[in-house]
Assembly symmetry: C2
């Protein structure tokens, strides 16, 4: 193979964190608590998967990762806001995330709500102020893509369906529909936005979106499997916590064996979507394959 | 005078509500609860002040109100999201707004958080998809203005300061700083965005922003005065409810007489900012004067 995924992810993570650090201000003034809270969650040890996928897609499409960096940061900010709001007592009521107390446990509920609001709002600032050679019309297409993926037609819609399905018997199709919206839409948008900013053709953008769709589902299924089989230390949360909250998981609906098969099918479909790309797609291929052996 | 403000406001309100109705979808699908909740607050009897100011500024600057309508809708969506989140139990914990139960009292806290998130997100969709003859670069300037006014540098920052100042002794300068951020920034942005989309010169945009700044403060002071002196039936909330929550109001800090004087000074300054404009600014002048005699 020759491609060192671990090194690649570590290097890319650092690039993304440097960019986030540069652009998100260090707290000062009377309103500093909300910025402290936003930064707390933004730098709470996320894997930076969405920005890394965005940068990779830009390169696969023939562009530079620099051009895609503001949008990559915006994706991470939107992802972070969604985690803060999802963890709230009125929602999933989680006390820990990635082994650290959740935002509202540290800053209180009011500031946590506002920190999420601020991250979502500023995400659009990052994108609207992208400079360089990107045509304004393309930036507006990126804004529209982010909205569709994160609003009621995407991530928020998925979270609502998740809430509606609690303590209710639901079928696999509904669970899949929920995941496609709740986590798949933003993952898929990460690829789409990167491909757009990298100057990809319509066919390339569409292939990378398809990769993102299958990667998202494979990611969710392996996440559910980890919750059943995983190790608390590596995951930063207790295994079995989904089942304890009566969440509808793939293992609960399909069994462990069939869930593993489904994950493999989606990884294969993700790889298939990359068939027309050259070696620049190797990081994306490696990320998809990694899902089948992930431990956290 | 000859200008009928009541009729003007009623007509403009209807135009804005038609536009909001056209663009915000009627709920369907599994995620419909969040759209029902968003629509509940969006159509809960708001005065539509921000969109009306935005449309008026576009006309004063020499443009058409049609060109400014999507941004006007976005302003109302951002305003509505902020009300939903501000009313939450963890924030101001209000049960009623404009005489109706608040969003979380009807739909529950989880859906109320998500409905606010959805309104904020979709506001950027309205703006990013503005078509017609508006140059994409100008649309991006509108996005940047909306973010600055509604994020931590504006409305969210003001809400944080408001929370920080509860049960604490604060001076007038801090209260003013809070209002300039919490309500002033978005009001001022309504004028700025309208002026931008109406094709105003830098000097015109700046004058209309200054009008918005003073109008915002006059609006806040007269709001505080109404809370002390007002009539529950006309206001849709109980008079004295700010004082009961130990909110720092102008009457509490300045006394009623000096507060009335301050309101008049800001209205005068708002009118002064319009001095260079012709009769097309008459609606904005009438709105400023009205604040001194408002009853609700």
């Amino acid at each position: 193979m020759g491609f060192d995924l671990k090194l690649y992810l570590a290097e890319r993570k650092q690039l993304v964190e440097d960019a986030l650090e540069d652009c998100f201000p260090v707290p000062s003034g009377l309103e500093k608590s909300v910025l402290e809270a936003a930064r707390y969650s933004l730098f709470a040890g996320g894997k930076r998967l969405r920005p890394i996928l965005c940068l990779a897609a830009a390169e696969v499409a023939g562009g530079s990762r620099e051009a895609a960096m503001p949008a990559a940061c915006a994706l991470e900010m939107i992802h972070t806001y969604s985690l803060i709001h999802d963890d709230l007592p009125a929602m999933d009521n989680d006390d820990f995330r990635r082994g650290k107390p959740t935002n509202h446990k540290v800053f209180g509920e009011a500031i946590a709500v506002l920190a999420g609001d601020a991250l979502l709002t500023e995400a659009f600032d990052f994108v609207s102020k992208m400079d360089g050679d990107i045509p304004p019309r393309k930036i507006l297409a990126v804004v529209a893509t982010l909205v569709r993926a994160s609003g009621y037609r995407g991530m928020i819609g998925g979270q609502v369906i998740d809430l509606e399905c609690e303590n209710r018997t639901v079928d696999l199709a509904t669970v899949e529909y929920m995941h496609i919206h709740k986590t798949g839409a933003l993952l898929s948008a990460s690829l789409e936005v990167g491909a757009l900013l990298g100057g990809g053709s319509d066919a390339q953008v569409s292939s990378l979106k398809r990769y993102g769709h299958h990667l998202g589902l494979a990611f969710q299924i392996t996440d559910d499997l980890l919750d059943v089989e995983g190790d608390a230390r590596e995951m930063g949360k207790k295994p079995g916590s989904d089942a304890a909250k009566n969440k509808k998981t793939y293992p609960a609906l399909l069994g462990i064996t069939r869930s593993r098969e489904a994950a493999r099918e989606h990884v294969d479909a993700a790889l298939q979507a990359l068939a027309a790309f050259d070696d620049r797609a190797e990081p994306l291929r490696a990320i998809a394959r990694y899902l089948l052996v992930r431990k956290a």
